[in-house]
């Protein structure tokens, strides 16, 4: 077992552990930040697997996304500090089934699919960035742009729904 495998196992374990903490805690802020550190650990796994750009990007994006999520949770939940011992889980039977089916599917894919021979060498980090850039601005451009637009539309729509209707004056 070489150093790479040890670090990969460590960060993988950390990601799973923080994932569990998300549901074990009562505090919304702790839950959001546990999710952040779970995702950061996945970013560290990318770094261990020599996908430098993806790792750095993951670590950067998650810090901001999860912080923004935390403030939304604090704004909209009834017990953000967890002082009333709020439970993070709901619809338990459905969640258990969904989680179980997801686990079986993921394991089946991981073990059942022929992944081909493992890569013996990895392109240098700067070569990876260049290849990613060409991929993003070429073949995958349409997919990424349409996904981006969809997310933007969803954000605008969600904000519109969340704003309380205002009396524009003179209605009553």
């Amino acid at each position: 077992m070489n150093a790479e495998m040890i670090f990969l196992t460590f960060f993988g374990g950390a990601a799973v552990w923080f994932g569990i903490v998300v549901f074990r805690t009562h505090s919304m802020v702790r839950s959001a930040l546990a999710l952040l550190f779970s995702q950061t650990a996945i970013g560290a796994m990318f770094l261990v697997m020599q996908a430098e750009f993806l790792g750095v990007l993951q670590i950067m994006m998650m810090a901001t996304e999860m912080s923004v999520m935390a403030i939304f949770m604090v704004m909209f939940m009834m017990d953000p500090g967890g002082l009333g011992a709020m439970d993070m889980t709901h619809q338990k039977r459905l969640s258990l089934w969904a989680g179980g089916v997801g686990l079986v599917a993921a394991l089946g894919l991981t073990l059942g699919v022929d992944w081909g021979p493992a890569a013996l060498s990895v392109p240098s980090a700067s070569a990876q960035i260049e290849m990613l850039g060409i991929e993003l601005l070429g073949r995958s451009m349409f997919i990424f742009e349409s996904a981006g637009l969809t997310i933007l539309t969803a954000m605008v729509a969600a904000t519109m729904v969340a704003i309380a209707p205002q009396d524009k004056g003179g209605a009553k």
Partner: protein
């Protein structure tokens, strides 16, 4: 060896800017001031608030320090005086400094005090204002250098420094950097005067010392980033490269510290509106202009 040199110069730099900051604030030059203040903080009792979120409260100052130190790791002081010359260095700097936000939210939330909590969440609002204006000017810088490596970015400025090549980007980046380092007039998370210290309000003793030191390092790392991206890094005549880096970083830091004393604090709503309506339009224009210039004039 590089790590030792850079950490040593970081400690010296932090000490110098602590002197300058107190000079700018109180108008008296006290060379021993920061050392005495640090001793006083170490000697003072580190009080815990009632019912704190202990995990966040203890982690936040350390996380802030780690974020600052990681950001420093990709800033070159000379061609070979850099801790790690990552291929995605310019992005890594952002990734490290994104955790300043996380640390301040944790510090504000963990202390179980109203002032701290408001300070922490205020910084999130401030983040939404400055974040794009850090990344978008860096995009234009990377476009010219055709690389995200910080050393390549410096080398790309041999002919002409980026401050002259993309002045709009420079101005936007420096203002955003001051927001990131919560320097006045953008010191909303601390806001002495209306938040009684904000995020730092519930911290005392050693923990406050770590928070303050971390902030000094963040200021230095951002001054270093400004020098690397816009002021030609180590480039300059006569003096050795490291000396040029040191001089430029100190000048930028002092300018950032002094600027705040001539401006009133900006309200977060106004800062957000200005950043998004004016700042992002300018940043997009900057990217477009740099793209056109890079295609037309080969310098």
């Amino acid at each position: 060896m590089n790590i030792a040199i850079i950490l040593g110069s970081l400690a010296l730099g932090a000490y110098i800017i602590a002197i300058v900051e107190s000079w700018a604030t109180y108008g008296r030059l006290r060379l021993a001031g920061p050392a005495l203040a640090a001793l006083a903080l170490l000697g003072r009792e580190s009080v815990l608030a009632r019912k704190p979120d202990r995990l966040f409260f203890e982690t936040a100052p350390v996380l802030l320090l780690v974020a600052g130190l990681l950001a420093v790791a990709v800033i070159p002081l000379a061609p070979d005086l850099i801790i790690t010359d990552l291929s995605s260095g310019a992005l890594f700097l952002n990734a490290a400094l994104a955790y300043v936000l996380v640390a301040l939210i944790m510090a504000g939330w963990g202390a179980n005090g109203a002032y701290g909590m408001i300070g922490g969440w205020r910084f999130l609002g401030q983040f939404i204002a400055y974040a794009m204006l850090i990344v978008m000017p860096i995009t234009a810088v990377a476009m010219r250098a055709e690389s995200l490596m910080t050393t390549q970015i410096v080398i790309s400025q041999v002919e002409l420094w980026n401050i002259f090549y993309q002045p709009i980007g420079f101005v936007l980046f420096v203002i955003a950097a001051m927001g990131l380092a919560y320097l006045p007039p953008l010191d909303l998370p601390l806001a002495p005067g209306d938040l009684a210290g904000g995020v730092e309000a519930e911290y005392t003793g050693v923990r406050l010392g770590v928070l303050r030191l971390a902030r000094m390092i963040i200021i230095l790392s951002l001054a270093g980033a400004t020098v690397t991206f816009y002021l030609g890094g180590w480039l300059g005549p006569w003096l050795p490269p490291w000396a040029w880096s040191a001089i430029k970083i100190l000048v930028v830091t002092v300018a950032m510290l002094m600027a705040g004393h001539y401006m009133p604090r900006i309200r977060e709503a106004r800062y957000l509106a200005l950043s998004w309506k004016l700042g992002i339009s300018l940043a997009l224009a900057n990217i477009f202009l740099v793209g056109v210039i890079a295609l037309v004039v080969p310098i």
